[in-house]
Assembly symmetry: C2
Homo-oligomer: 356 residues x 2
């Protein structure tokens, strides 16, 4: 069976879903939404997303809140979050994309000063603006209204040591503070000053679900009339080598939005594939796209479904070999990045003025 979207593999997640109380994303919703992230099973699960489906159906507004902690450069793992954000915006979402510069500094030991976090923030913001976000889609933690900060402190009253430790296993005050801001990030769009009570959606990795559950619990416990926030869960986007995460701290694990064409070439050429030991064997038996990092890039990023299905099928049949496939991937990423980076440069100054 040809399954270019790796739906089978999701069965590995199902135990985790049951444990966490997540629901597998239903295929009839994916069909309705008709967007590559759903069709390709990159969004694998949800919590309470029915409310958002309903709002989209009724053409009523809903909140979408997401963001990036300013602790490193953006890579293609972040890009899917940006794609989803643009999609929901097109469906009528009220947009809250957080440039989390306080979070970046406070919660990451490697970020040594607010100045450093702000430099990451400028870089990240210029990328999202270059990617088509407007200034209004975005907010910067340090520039946010004071009501947002008061709200963060107010929420803290409802969190005991035991609750916090159960979810995060530690209690360093800096990390706790960053979490307080994250609850406020997700819930504050429902304050009167912003949209008021309204369904909201935030997209996260499955490993972040305990955080989502605590946020929903807090939404019930604070003295506000709030809709419980909904969550979507991304399939994990692996790094370029086997068993590796895309990580800002390892430049060879990921393709970054700042990477040069040379970088892309170097990284993709050396990436892990599903190729066989010999060309002969591969031509005969075909490759294995399901474990291939190059194919993963296509699946997570290549806009044209037909092209991706085609590559998958050709690979399986041994009709395309790794060298050619990598060249296509390098060409795709290079073309994407060179266009994007031209815009990025134009937004750097704007981003700097917005952050500082």
């Amino acid at each position: 069976m040809i399954d270019p979207w790796g739906n089978i593999e999701i069965s590995n997640y199902e135990k985790v879903f049951r444990e966490f109380g997540l629901t597998k994303f239903p295929s009839n919703w994916s069909d309705k939404l008709d967007h590559y992230l759903f069709k390709r099973n990159i969004i694998i699960a949800h919590r309470d997303f029915g409310k958002i489906m309903q709002r989209i159906k009724e053409k009523k507004p809903f909140i979408q809140m997401t963001g990036i902690a300013s602790s490193g450069k953006l890579h293609f793992g972040h890009k899917i979050n940006l794609d989803l954000f643009k999609f929901f915006k097109s469906k009528g979402a009220r947009t809250y994309f957080c440039i989390a510069n306080i979070d970046g500094y406070v919660s990451r030991p490697k970020v040594k000063s607010m100045e450093e976090a702000n430099e990451y923030a400028i870089n990240n913001l210029a990328h999202v603006l270059a990617y088509g976000f407007t200034k209004k889609d975005v907010y910067i933690q340090t520039k946010k209204d004071k009501i947002y900060y008061s709200f963060a402190f107010e929420i803290s009253k409802k969190i005991t040591e035991a609750m916090f430790r159960a979810v995060y296993g530690h209690l360093d005050l800096g990390k706790a503070a960053a979490n307080m801001l994250q609850y406020a990030d997700i819930l504050h769009p429902q304050l009167k000053k912003y949209e008021g009570k309204m369904p909201s959606v935030t997209s996260i990795g499955v490993d972040q679900d305990p955080h989502a559950r605590l946020t929903r619990d807090l939404a019930k416990r604070i003295n506000y009339n709030l809709e419980l926030p909904s969550f979507l869960y991304f399939r994990h986007h692996g790094g370029l080598q086997k068993g590796m995460k895309m990580s800002a701290s390892d430049p060879y694990s990921a393709v970054f939005l700042d990477d040069s064409i040379q970088d892309v070439k170097y990284k993709v050429e050396r990436s892990f594939t599903g190729g066989k030991d010999t060309l002969k064997e591969q031509k005969k038996k075909g490759g294995n796209p399901d474990i291939c990092k190059v194919y993963e890039f296509y699946k997570f990023h290549y806009p044209n479904d037909k092209f991706v299905i085609d590559i998958y099928s050709k690979c399986k049949k041994g009709e395309i070999l790794c060298k050619e496939c990598k060249e296509k991937c390098i060409a795709f990423l290079s073309s994407f990045l060179s266009k994007h980076q031209k815009k990025f440069k134009r937004y750097l100054g704007i981003a700097r003025r917005m952050i500082l």
Copy 2:
């Protein structure tokens, strides 16, 4: 020996001072400052106050930061803090008096909502304005610039679980959050946006010293060029009954700035004194002002030194009995409160507009 200012009793504190690393407030500084709180040994100790003495001598500005958590009504225990604040203002201090409404809600289980904290804040603020503070002397946590909030979160990075637990013995996130704001309260006046690096003084009870030490430690550890804040320590102002604290939760423990003349009369008449069992015995042997709650009110509040020394001496000699002494005290407090409460009413509307 006649010692109306209870200097002897301070020997009880000395062990605590040594343990905490506090320094007894030197009598030559008290003489120089020439204010009742120093002369009467109500300020009993300090940490690094020499810097402030120097600034006063050189007629250079310094910061004084103090405030009130919005979790109850003000009583005469709070008044001494207001008196000290006015005194330092007259000596050229840059004034930062915090109406801590977030703190009041977040750190006190009995305060059930921000609305409730804000009602206390309005009451407290109207009192301090009626007592001669200007709007510029005061800031309200929820109305503070966002840089103050960012700064509070930024500080949190330098606090590990172990540090926090060593000082406070717990880690409920609400209380931790309130503490984060308190560090920001004490340190933020030295940010560039405010006064820049400058000696600062905050007055607290001896039991709050671990908090002061942690704040000084943080001032060293954050990436800012800050003067370590100085602290003054108040002698404990007891409640109206033996062994009782002045407490907002027990209306009979304290005289409140909102109390009616009837309340004052009722409370003072029933307060604990140093009187003997019989009038005859008291006339013969004299009373004991050192343990008397009525005398404590004179010592902590009566402006005229000579009057207070006189009462002390007459009591000791049995020349004044409790009934007469209480009547004088009721007259003094009633006169003070009736004048103050007239002004207080005028400021209530202003305070409400400032808080909400």
